[in-house]
Amino acid sequence: MSATAVAGFAGARRWAFGPGDPRQLAALRIGLCAVLLLRLATRTGVYLDLAAQPQALYRPLSYMQLLDRMPSRGVVVACLAIAIVAATLAAAGLFSRTMLAIALPASLLLNGMFTAQGKVNHNDVLLTLCLIAIVFARHGDAWSLDAWRARRRGRAPAPAAGPDYGWPVRAAMMVVALAYMIAGLHKVVGSGGLGWATSENMRWLLYLASDDQSGNAAALWIADHDWIAHLSAFGLLATELLFPLVLFVPRLRWIFVPAAIALHAGTWVTLRLDYSAQLLTVVVVFVTWPAVVSWIAPRLPRRLRLLEQRP
């Protein structure tokens, strides 16, 4: 192995497993649990509807194949209650490690139900994978009721940085970056090159989406303007393929995170596909929250400066 490769490997190892700020990990806990809570609480009717699915239409994937039908309404109600309470407490940081360890499997059953309709459901995948990335970590050592209670008991606060706090954050970053890159690579492989963007693919896709929605003005407008359709396709493909650059050049987050937001917002407007969970996950994982808090805190009234305290 060449010296450059060895140095590169050592650098990657230091980056992935080196120390991190407990507040950034805490921000992931708060943010991801808040997104999970939002998804569960705003779709309770959908989960209950899925529980009533006729058995003949049950088309499970993955671990849902262990069941021969959707979980019963009683099981779904219990899982919803457990997941919502546990996610709320995990976000607040009360018994946060236990609560997240409870909320995650409950949400796996609930969101797994969406995959039992014959099609992979990607909307909640990144949220789930990022929650898996942090579930075993010490995410309650900062910005949590657990940390507040520990301080009141006279225990020493968490250090400003430590090896226990970096790896979960970077694991989540790698998972997100990989997901975008793989989605982009499949488009390249599927079209034998850049055909996905250079051909009329985007126009046909948007015309089709518009017809499936009985008309969508935004989709039709883009499809009717050839160069805008091609620009959208190239922008989307570039965002996906090049997203991992944010791991190597942090400043590129200022480009790729807004680009990912635009991508998912555009998907909603034109295709009516809700990728809000993925969009919010990207924001939670890639924003440097301690820096945001450091910028905001001095501008807040004194009584509201709780998060400014370290950790």
Partner: protein
Amino acid sequence: MRDAGSRAALQSGRMSLAPRPARLFVIALVAAVAVCGALSIEAWPLTGWRLFSRERHQLASGWAATSVDAQGRQTPIPFDSFPASSSRFVNVMSGFARLSPAEREATCQTWARLVRERGGDTTGGLRLYSTIRDLREHIGRSQPVEPVRTLRWACADGRGARRAEPAPAGARP
């Protein structure tokens, strides 16, 4: 990418790494995401990330279904009005041919029941069509393109789903 803590540790020459179990966990998670993605393995929440990866062409295929009343009149089945758990008609049709006869019959009966619950008439059973739309017809006009249908399956209430004989090409509904 380094935060203040790791920068300080680097500068002082003492960089402690995450414990070994944590490192193994991260490697396993990232490897699982990469392998499932590269090989298109669907093991939710791990997935192949095939999002609109297939290049679309001007001819778009799809599925459509109608219910047939006692007089033989056909009415499009309003899957959008079905509960969300039962509205994924196209997803079901993508694997319909691979189902056993009993499973196909059960699927048709479920759809027929949902149609009747919404006031529809399924006396003559259901018809399941594959469709082709030429999207070039869309250029310069906003109205949806009318698909060309080909009958694939005929479901008669209680008498199973029968594979249709090949229909004349280009037959419009």
